[in-house]
């Protein structure tokens, strides 16, 4: 098993896992505490439109997908802010429209299309080194933004009305969280794929939230859990030759069920002894 580590592609995959886990821990925490999971789903699927654009016009894929999802996420964030009662439907529309747009563009592009499957199901075993540097840079930007604005993010996430009454930039913070989600989602797509990005963005923060006592500690714990799931999933994928993205989510889901089950068991035991 350990001989797997001697392969270049495995080292690249582990580096990609760690970089993606940092983004996942930070953004996933903000997504979960702000209840933006559905919006994250919409952004991740709409990103496919950016992938289609990149393929059709021969643009670099990662910047195109990031640009497209940031633009669509700002639309969703605007609706969520101004017409909260309509935001569910608006996310659903952009979710479907972005995907359809991407599929049509790819249909119109002649040539070999197998690489697209990696965007749906992940291609962590084939992340180019340039993408690793790009992900590292994005991680650094995310961490810097969160560190600089953490008080505003904390107060606006916890109690928006109070934050507004204290004169905090509530709207800017809302767009910031959604924008960071869009960027992070595209990064995670490279690791576990479009379909599975939601799970990695929600499961580690969910587990982390059970014991976390502050927002930063929840982010750190979510990053740690995410790294564990990625490494475990890669080991499974190597051992049984299954799709790496699916294997990572299988491990994460098993972890989720184990933690939830242990929690339920503890509650039952506590009730019996009480």
């Amino acid at each position: 098993m350990l001989d797997a580590l001697s392969y270049d592609f495995m080292q690249q995959a582990l580096a990609a896992s760690l970089l993606a886990s940092i983004a996942c821990g930070v953004i996933g925490t903000l997504v979960v505490v702000n209840r933006l999971v559905f919006l994250a789903g919409g952004v991740s699927h709409a990103a496919y439109g950016g992938v289609g654009l990149a393929f059709h016009y021969g643009w670099p894929v990662l910047p195109s997908a990031i640009g497209f999802s940031v633009a669509s996420s700002m639309l969703m964030a605007g609706v969520a802010l101004k017409r909260p009662e309509k935001s569910d439907a608006a996310i659903g529309v952009l979710w479907a429209a972005g995907m359809a747009f991407g599929i049509i563009l790819i249909d119109l592009t002649p040539g070999y299309k197998a690489d697209l499957m990696s965007f749906l199901f992940g291609s962590i075993l084939a992340v180019p080194t340039t993408d690793l540097y790009l992900m590292a840079a994005l991680d650094a930007v995310l961490l810097a933004v969160v560190a600089l604005c953490h008080q505003t993010l904390l107060v606006t996430s916890f109690d928006r009305e109070f934050a507004e009454a204290r004169g905090l930039p509530v709207r800017t913070a809302h767009y910031l969280v959604v924008g960071m989600t869009a960027v992070g989602v595209v990064m995670l797509i490279r690791v576990v794929g479009l379909v599975l990005v939601m799970a990695l963005l929600t499961i580690p923060p969910f587990i982390a939230a059970r014991t976390a006592r502050s927002l930063p500690s929840m982010m750190a714990a979510a990053t740690a859990w995410s790294t564990v799931f990625c490494v475990g999933g890669l080991a499974l994928a190597y051992r049984w030759d299954v799709t790496s993205g699916a294997a990572i989510i299988a491990v994460a889901s098993a972890g989720f069920m184990a933690v939830s089950g242990a929690g339920a068991l503890r509650r039952i035991m506590a009730r019996k002894t009480a």
Binding site: T152, D159, F162
Partner: protein, 317 residues
């Protein structure tokens, strides 16, 4: 209060003696076509403890949001401390409705209280606050004030509804506000709690001016200096009394045979009911009533709720 005297915007800061804390003039507001607030006037002087009562949907919370500058009036004006509401935000402590905070949030009680310092310091990127030992000491004191000492390490989700409400009041006290605005603070008070919420609010009078918004008529027996009723329009009374007009505003007009009408008659007997507004000479709504005596600053020694709840002699309906 035990706050350092040097902090900006604290109680006792230079302030024109006769300048009202809140001045609302001919205020109209509507979300869509129907007016929510219609030609509302309200003046709150320094040190007052005003209860704004009214039915749900009557415009109480809207009025609070207009006071905070979170909504813009359709016509008329709101002045706080003689200026625009947004400029006065650092001097206001706001206790929003309990439901606005997220209960499953990973945050300790101490950190919630420290959030009260948000917006007190302008940083490079937005507003920040310092997390130093002095702030933590002050947060502990604020928790002590609301009867939550020893709870600072608890997670906010572990508190009972009433304890959480008090933690949020402690948070509002952190910024040393001159004006405290509380939205439905009794919505989640523990019924058997030994901590008497309104008695506590009464002790804050003096350094603070307080405005409490509620749909709960029973709080009218508390230690307020004034009561206002809001239901699209506003009736303001100096002194903690209810006029039959106010009850009609709150519940509509009912015959005595109707259960609601019977309830209104019984409630009218519980409070020191004031004469009808039209029975008084114009401009005297604010004075000359027996309950006017409650206007003097109480500093926590005001008439206990029990005696305020006894029928006022000669005013029984």
């Amino acid at each position: 209060m035990h706050m350092p005297a040097s902090a900006p915007g604290m109680p006792g800061a230079p302030h024109t003696p006769h300048e009202p804390v809140i001045a609302v003039r001919d205020l109209c507001f509507a979300y869509g076509g129907e007016p929510v607030l219609d030609h509302v006037d309200l003046t709150v002087e320094r040190g007052e403890f005003l209860a704004v009562l009214g039915p749900n949907g009557g415009g109480k919370t809207t009025l609070l949001k207009l006071l905070l500058g979170l909504l813009t009036p359709r016509s008329g004006g709101v002045t706080l401390f003689g200026g625009a509401p947004r400029a006065a935000l650092p001097r206001i402590g706001y206790v929003p409705q309990y439901s606005t905070a997220r209960l499953d949030f990973p945050v300790t009680v101490l950190d919630v209280v420290l959030m009260g310092l948000a917006g007190t310091r302008r940083g490079l990127l937005g507003r920040h606050w310092s997390h130093d030992a002095a702030s933590v000491d002050r947060a502990r004191e604020a928790l002590d004030q609301v009867g939550l000492s020893g709870m600072e390490k608890r997670m906010v989700g572990e508190l009972s509804g009433g304890q959480r409400q008090r933690a949020v009041v402690a948070r509002a006290l952190m910024a040393q506000p001159e004006l405290l605005l509380l939205d439905e603070p009794t919505a989640s008070i523990d019924p058997q709690g030994s901590f008497c919420f309104f008695e506590f609010l009464g002790t804050l009078r003096g350094p603070h001016t307080l405005v409490v918004v509620s749909h709960d008529l029973s709080i009218a027996t508390s230690t307020f200096s004034n009561v206002a009723f809001v239901n699209r329009t506003l009736v303001h009374s100096r002194g903690a009394g209810l006029t039959p007009d106010m009850l009609t505003m709150l519940y509509g007009h009912h015959e005595k045979t109707c259960p609601m009408g019977a309830f209104i008659s019984s409630v009218s007997g519980l409070f020191p009911v004031l004469p009808k507004a039209e029975d008084l000479p114009p401009g005297t709504l604010a004075g000359g009533t027996p309950s006017d005596t409650t206007q003097t600053p109480a500093h926590g020694q005001s008439a206990p709720a029990a005696s305020a709840a006894t029928p006022h002699p000669g005013k029984d309906a």
